[in-house]
């Protein structure tokens, strides 16, 4: 295993973790806003405040970890992606600010219960994946031009591309699906029957669109990037495994049993699909300009980063375990029996 592979695997793993924890966060905000809109308000509010508020900052760090790490391991990405993503990434930052400020102002602070804020918070949860996911489309190549040695984004090509839109739709469906499955489990643990019924319904509603758009993207790629499509097909067994795990989740949710296992299967489904996609993308970070080899940092930096990563992980894993034990696996806390907020 080369240093390049170790580097990209670490980053991809953290991006995956971000996708899962952020989806839970984004989707929950949307469901909350939707139930406020349809006057089923406050069914989800308690759950969101109990689980999401303490871990929100941690969720955000996964994202920061990814973009700082990729500059560390693959500095040349700063040049290509940094230049071209100015506008979409800035929009994503504004949306992140909406979410961060909701936690700061509405849940930690004066408990502002303004409907407009709840809607904005909910909407930002949908717009964020829509703003971030086009990067995956851009990485497939064909949307970036080099003019006088400077990369620039071809917005027209991007916004008229069916590939880009399918990725956006998939990200939305996946966010809602992941979130709903998690919340089903969490609400069930909390013993909140009404909330469980509601989010279970959402989980079943969004399962279909998730799998349909995911399959659709594979076929979009056939026309857009045949090279990537070919290597995707080589990994067909991983996608097949992912599909089986998907069926398992849907079955359990449908039969109203074992919501915890259902969520674990869901993580497995996305893990296999995410890594199969990542592996088939190899070695490109950006078709056809950038591979993990030509953009890699020097050897001494790579080794230093990997050592720092291992040391950091030694610090983080026990802390994360403590966090989850207190807010995810503590029955009294989850049920809202105890409130120890400062």
């Amino acid at each position: 295993m080369t240093l390049e592979i170790i580097g990209i695997s670490v980053l991809w793993l953290f991006l995956f973790l971000y996708v899962i924890v952020a989806s839970i966060d984004f989707g929950a905000g949307f469901f909350n806003a939707y139930s406020a809109f349809s006057d089923k308000q406050h069914i989800l509010t308690g759950i969101i405040q109990r689980y999401l508020s303490p871990v929100w900052e941690v969720t955000n760090v996964f994202f920061v970890f990814f973009f700082v790490g990729i500059i560390g391991f693959f500095p040349q990405t700063a040049f290509y992606y940094g230049t071209t993503l100015l506008v979409p990434a800035s929009l994503a930052l504004i949306l992140l600010a909406v979410r961060g400020s909701y936690y700061a102002f509405a849940t930690y602070g004066a408990k502002i219960d303004h409907r407009g804020y709840i809607y904005m918070y909910g909407l930002s949860g949908l717009l964020l994946p829509a703003a971030l996911s086009p990067v995956l489309a851009i990485s497939e190549g064909g949307f970036m031009r080099l003019e006088g040695g400077q990369p620039s984004l071809d917005y027209w090509a991007l916004f008229t591309s069916p590939l880009m839109w399918s990725i956006v739709v998939l990200s939305l469906a996946a966010v809602l699906y992941i979130s709903a499955v998690f919340l089903t489990w969490y609400a069930h643990k909390a013993g909140d029957v009404k909330a469980t019924q509601l989010v279970r319904k959402y989980a079943l509603v969004w399962a279909g669109p998730t799998i349909i758009t995911a399959t659709g993207i594979i076929f979009e790629l056939r026309g857009h990037n045949p090279e990537h499509y070919a290597s995707l097909l080589d990994l067909w067994w991983m996608f097949a495994l992912s599909f089986l795990l998907f069926l398992g989740t849907v079955f359990l949710i449908w039969k109203k049993r074992n919501y915890g296992l259902a969520f674990i299967l869901l993580v497995g489904q996305f893990f296999t699909a995410f890594f199969a996609y990542g592996a088939s993308h190899y070695p490109y970070l950006l078709y056809p300009h950038l591979t993990i080899y030509d953009s890699f940092t020097n050897e001494s930096m790579a080794i230093a980063l990997i050592i720092a990563f291992i040391a950091g992980l030694g610090l983080l894993l026990p802390s994360l375990y403590l966090l989850f034990r207190l807010f995810l696996f503590d029955k009294d806390y989850v049920k809202g029996k105890s409130d120890y907020h400062a």
Partner: protein, 448 residues
């Protein structure tokens, strides 16, 4: 839009983000220590007031942290969005502390979440106190790592350039550049000092606004003592920073001091206006610049005329430097008078105008922080990486930066107003008297 223009636009946006972020970052680094000290004093003295002080500070603190996370994410991403050429080069050499900063913040965020949501969850108060230690450590470590990156921009080392390629990269050597000791110490001590002054301002303000509760008096005296300690530390470290500049970035010190001709027995110039190379209407302190730079009046201070004109910073940084130093000196003096006066029972300490001066000290300290960062950043110009890359070479080629300036300006205005409104509303709805009475009655209920 020309190449120069995008560099200027990128500078404006970076200046805006950093100027806004540094407010939250300073509070984020300094306040955990203050909460820790208050909670510790409360546990030791078994004094409910200090515990409640820690608790109320923590409530406000978490709001500033959440906004700080947003602005911190913004600056983290903007580094790559606005300065892709610089980050491509810097990523090869100085990525290690950037990476470590994320871990430090990760650590801090986890324990902050736990600390905040576990008040009264433990029988033993000391267990809860221990959860704050990683928060304070993580916050301090984040600022240390980020300051290390900034130090590298001022005194780059740990690599060689051979035919335009970076070779012999040593991440550790790059991390420990000569700028690190003074910069890190300065950032930490000023963060603690500023946070102490801000909390003192709040307490003084409550006392002026009619509440004569002993809770606020305890808060005020505790924070002013801490403010004094860290102001003195800051002054001493500031002196070392002067010596660092004289040795490694003489052009920055010379521009700050309008010092043109190299020579010994250099005088310190405060304020004034520049007429050619001659400062007018300025306060001149003989020998002081030589002493600041080398510790002796005979020390030779390098002047601006020894540098090519296109490699010196703009001369208006003189005023930034003066603002920072004057405010720092004033705050050290003021907190000294306050603490000695309180001990010896001087009557001025309790007078209204003196209280108002105390209220003013928090904002003044924050202005000093802003002036200091502007000074160090503008004072490094025209370089983004001193001696290797000019700022204009590091900037993005994207033409949409101006639009982003408008967008982010709006965001920062909203976040700034939101912070003030939410914080003041939160404390107004739940004044300390009410909370103390509530806790008292709860206790009574348990006992009966």
């Amino acid at each position: 839009m020309g190449f120069e223009d995008t560099a200027l636009m990128s500078r404006i946006l970076t200046l805006m983000t950093l100027s806004f972020h540094i407010i939250y970052a300073t509070i984020g680094v300094g306040v955990p220590l203050m909460i820790m000290i208050a909670q510790w004093v409360g546990i030791r003295k078994n004094d409910e007031h200090y515990i409640l002080l820690a608790r109320r500070w923590a409530r406000g603190f978490v709001i500033t942290v959440a906004v700080g996370v947003v602005t911190g994410t913004a600056i983290g991403l903007q580094l790559s969005l606005l300065w892709p050429n610089f980050m491509q080069m810097a990523g090869n050499v100085i990525a290690l502390p950037l990476f470590m900063e994320v871990f430090a913040f990760f650590f801090e965020a986890i324990f902050l979440g736990i600390y905040l949501y576990t008040w009264d969850r433990f029988e033993d108060q000391r267990k809860h106190f221990l959860l704050l230690v990683p928060v304070a450590l993580g916050a301090a470590a984040s600022s240390i790592f980020i300051t290390i990156v900034n130090s590298f921009m001022n005194a780059p080392q740990g690599f060689d350039v051979l035919n335009g390629e970076l070779v012999n990269v040593s991440p550790l050597l790059a991390m420990f550049s000569p700028a690190v000791p003074t910069k890190v110490a300065h950032v930490l001590s000023t963060a603690f000092m500023t946070s102490a002054f801000i909390l003192a301002s709040i307490a003084a303000f409550r006392l002026l606004r009619g509440s004569n509760h002993v809770y606020h008096k305890k808060a005020l005296f505790l924070t002013m003592k801490l403010a004094l300690v860290f102001s003195v530390a800051t002054a001493i470290i500031g002196d070392f920073s002067g010596k660092y500049l004289a040795e490694y970035q003489p052009e920055k010190l010379a521009a700050a001091e309008w010092h043109f001709e190299t020579g010994p027995e250099a005088e310190l110039v405060l304020f004034g206006v520049l007429d050619g190379e001659e400062p007018k209407y300025a306060i001149r302190v003989p020998y002081a610049l030589s002493i600041l730079a080398h510790g002796v009046p005979s020390g030779e201070v390098i002047g601006l005329n020894d540098f090519p004109e296109d490699e010196t910073p703009p001369l208006w940084i003189h005023y930034l430097f003066d603002t920072m130093v004057t405010l720092g000196m004033w705050l050290a003096f003021f907190s000294f008078v306050f603490v000695v006066g309180s001990w010896r029972g001087w009557s001025i300490v309790k007078q209204k105008w003196f209280r108002w001066l105390t209220v003013l000290s928090g904002p003044l300290a924050m202005i000093a922080i802003e002036a200091g960062w502007w000074f160090t950043e503008v004072g490094r110009q025209p370089w983004i990486l001193r001696g290797y890359m000019k700022t204009s070479e590091g900037a993005t080629a994207s033409g949409q930066v101006d639009l982003m300036i408008v967008l982010f300006a709006g965001l920062y205005v909203i976040l700034g107003i939101g912070t003030v409104v939410v914080l003041s509303r939160m404390y107004k709805r739940n004044p300390v008297e009410k909370e103390l009475a509530q806790r008292e009655s709860e206790k009574g209920g348990e006992e009966s």
